[in-house]
């Protein structure tokens, strides 16, 4: 085990008590709703927050154990962190940002800069050495932050909502890039996200955290098959479509086509659509949703204020609408209607 942690922390209204293990080379996603304590776990692992009880062990070294009086400070833990807001140093240019960790470890300037250039090349950032962080696009800043975290060769890589600050269009590319880097990364990585798509596409294993506790732990498919909480059940209801991308169009296996917001990825891919993003109409809708098709209702599942509707047609998926909308549409098994999804609501990842 690269990482073995039992974290107990009480902060304000949050009472955190989680066990977390990770094997060498494994990518673990902490998935949960906002305020569940995911970021707090990450801060504890990085040493930015001391735990109240429990212990944290990285590569066999105990780095935090209140009962034994052990606390290794952040700067000696060798945990690379990519923060949600990236936190690039605004007074330094891109190259100096990436070289910072090596310089802090006493690496000579010229050699640190040479290595920084190498890392920037690996994340696909060229010719921006002298740019200031404020001049970068969101996607570029994300890559620089990743290069900076990787350049200090961390034992443990921690990523806090690595894609949350990006818009829907750049997310697709950056997610694919990030997945490649996580695969190449030899050490263990822990990433925090509230987006099931990130967890599904980036992580080997998913740990569901709700209200400071681990609710479920396993592969995404396992968890989706046996949801143990309403939150997980919602996640599990995510529509996964296999197919392939070509020229901005996602061809679903079976023949149907979906227009998506990513236009420069080609090849076998997976499209993820949240049920809430699927809208249902009696007549064919005009306007922005570019993907519309005829569908038949084959199952209706009432869940309080929300209704889940399983659809059959050229594309098989589940829609989730309000109870009021379901009543207005007269939803019942066998009803034929129009389904629509906006291009920007479809998250595509190359497989």
């Amino acid at each position: 085990m690269t990482l073995r942690a039992h974290i107990v922390v009480v902060r304000g209204s949050l009472s955190l008590d989680v066990w977390l293990n990770a094997a060498a080379g494994e990518v673990v996603a902490l998935l949960g709703p906002n305020g569940a304590g995911k970021t707090t776990i990450l801060r504890c692992l990085a040493g930015l927050l001391a735990i109240d009880r429990g212990s944290i062990e990285i590569l066999g070294e105990v780095v935090d154990d209140p009962s034994a009086g052990v606390f290794v400070p952040t700067e000696r833990r060798a945990c690379g962190v990519m923060f949600q807001q990236y936190l690039l140093f605004p007074q330094m240019n891109v190259l100096e940002n990436v070289a910072f960790g090596m310089r802090a470890h006493g690496v000579e300037r010229s050699s640190a800069h040479a290595q920084a250039r190498h890392w920037l090349g690996r994340v696909g950032i060229d010719g921006l050495d002298r740019s200031r962080p404020e001049q970068l696009s969101g996607g570029q800043a994300q890559r620089v932050a990743l290069a900076r975290a990787l350049a200090s060769e961390p034992r443990l890589l921690l990523l806090d909502e690595p894609l949350a600050a990006l818009d829907a269009t750049s997310k697709v590319d950056v997610r694919r890039e990030l997945r490649r880097h996580l695969t190449e990364f030899k050490g263990t990585a822990v990433l925090v996200t509230h987006d099931p798509v990130d967890a599904y596409t980036l992580a080997d294993r998913v740990v569901i955290v709700e209200q400071g506790h681990v609710v479920q732990d396993g592969t995404f498919v396992d968890i989706a098959a046996h949801p143990r909480s309403a939150y997980v059940a919602d996640l599990a209801g995510v529509n996964l479509l296999t197919g392939s991308m070509m020229g901005g169009v996602f061809a679903v296996d079976g023949g149907a086509m979906l227009v998506v917001a990513a236009d420069d990825v080609d090849g076998a891919a997976i499209a993820v659509i949240r049920p809430q993003a699927v809208s249902l109409h009696v007549t064919r809708p005009d306007g922005s949703p570019r993907n519309t098709w005829r569908a038949a209702v084959i199952d209706v599942d009432h869940r309080g204020e929300r209704v889940r509707v399983r659809l059959q047609g050229p594309i098989q998926l589940t829609a989730e609408i309000t109870a009021a909308a379901a009543q207005a549409l007269g939803i019942k098994v066998g009803l034929e209607l129009w389904a629509a999804v906006k291009a920007t609501e479809i998250a595509v990842t190359l497989n």
Binding site: G47, T74, E75, F83, L87, P90, Q91
Partner: protein
């Protein structure tokens, strides 16, 4: 049409506000004009060239720069402590360390005398053990100036450190930076303009310091008589010299403020 509407964005002030602003400007300009109208311009150079004036100028410049250096050296760690560490009595400490900003300087000078004077709380031991007597020395001038000037540096820099994102410090530490390295490479560059502004403000305060100096250091020409003290003392004996020294101080202070304002004190044209 378009250019006319965009030019309109800068609307004129209502006239009462404009009039009051003009009065404020006149209020500051008038004393200067008064001083200049009485200045013996024909003898200006010979008066300013007098040994007594040059001596006071040298003393003022050297002491105020030393006081500024001391304010930065001691004030920067204190500002960092006040801004980034939570401890019991922090607001009391902050009040204590900025008290001399609002205290009458004469009171400060008397207090320094009772603390560091020959029979003072600490002064008597300095005298007995080290044969060190501070009052009425150039050192006393620097101490008095530092006492009243340092709060300006602390207040300015503490505010800047508070505004700087502590997340950057966290990021630096995850990359292996010691707290000193992070302070030097991340925090200091982020507060650079506040450092300069704070140093200039405290220098200006030290340069013009009068009350605490005269109480704690006295007025010995060449040793403790700085420019403000000699203005006050020569006003009785040689009014023309007093006016010229006053104008010299005005010129030096004005030049420093103008030179640094645009770049560091947040003035100049707003770029939005």
């Amino acid at each position: 049409m378009l250019s006319r509407t965009t030019r309109r964005t800068e609307r004129p002030l209502p006239w009462p506000a404009f009039a009051l602003a003009m009065i404020a400007i006149a209020f500051f300009a008038l004393p200067l004009v008064g001083l200049m109208s009485r200045a013996p311009w024909s003898d200006a150079l010979s008066i300013l060239g007098r040994a007594s004036v040059l001596e006071a100028l040298r003393l003022s410049v050297v002491c105020s720069l030393l006081a500024t250096a001391l304010s930065v050296l001691l004030g920067l760690p204190l500002a960092w402590l006040l801004a980034r560490r939570r401890f019991v009595g922090r607001s009391l400490v902050r009040a204590l360390c900025t008290l001399s900003m609002v205290l009458p300087p004469v009171v400060g000078g008397v207090a320094l005398l009772f603390a560091l004077g020959r029979r003072g709380l600490v002064g008597q031991w300095l005298d007995r053990w080290f044969d060190l007597r501070l009052p009425f020395t150039s050192t006393a001038v620097v101490i008095a100036q530092t006492f009243v000037a340092m709060p300006f540096f602390i207040v300015t820099v503490e505010a800047a450190i508070r505004q700087a994102d502590p997340g950057h410090d966290d990021a630096a530490r995850t990359l292996g930076a010691s707290s000193w390295y992070s302070f030097r490479r991340v925090t200091l560059p982020a507060i650079r303009s506040a450092l300069v502004a704070g140093a200039v403000l405290s220098w200006a305060r030290a340069f013009g310091e009068f009350g605490a100096t005269i109480m704690f250091a006295g007025s010995f020409p060449g040793r403790t008589q700085t420019l403000p003290l000699s203005v006050y003392l020569t006003l009785d004996t040689d009014q023309q010299e007093a006016i010229m020294i006053a104008l010299l101080m005005v010129a030096v202070s004005f030049a420093v403020l103008v030179a640094l304002r645009d770049r560091w004190l947040g003035g100049g044209e707003q770029t939005t």
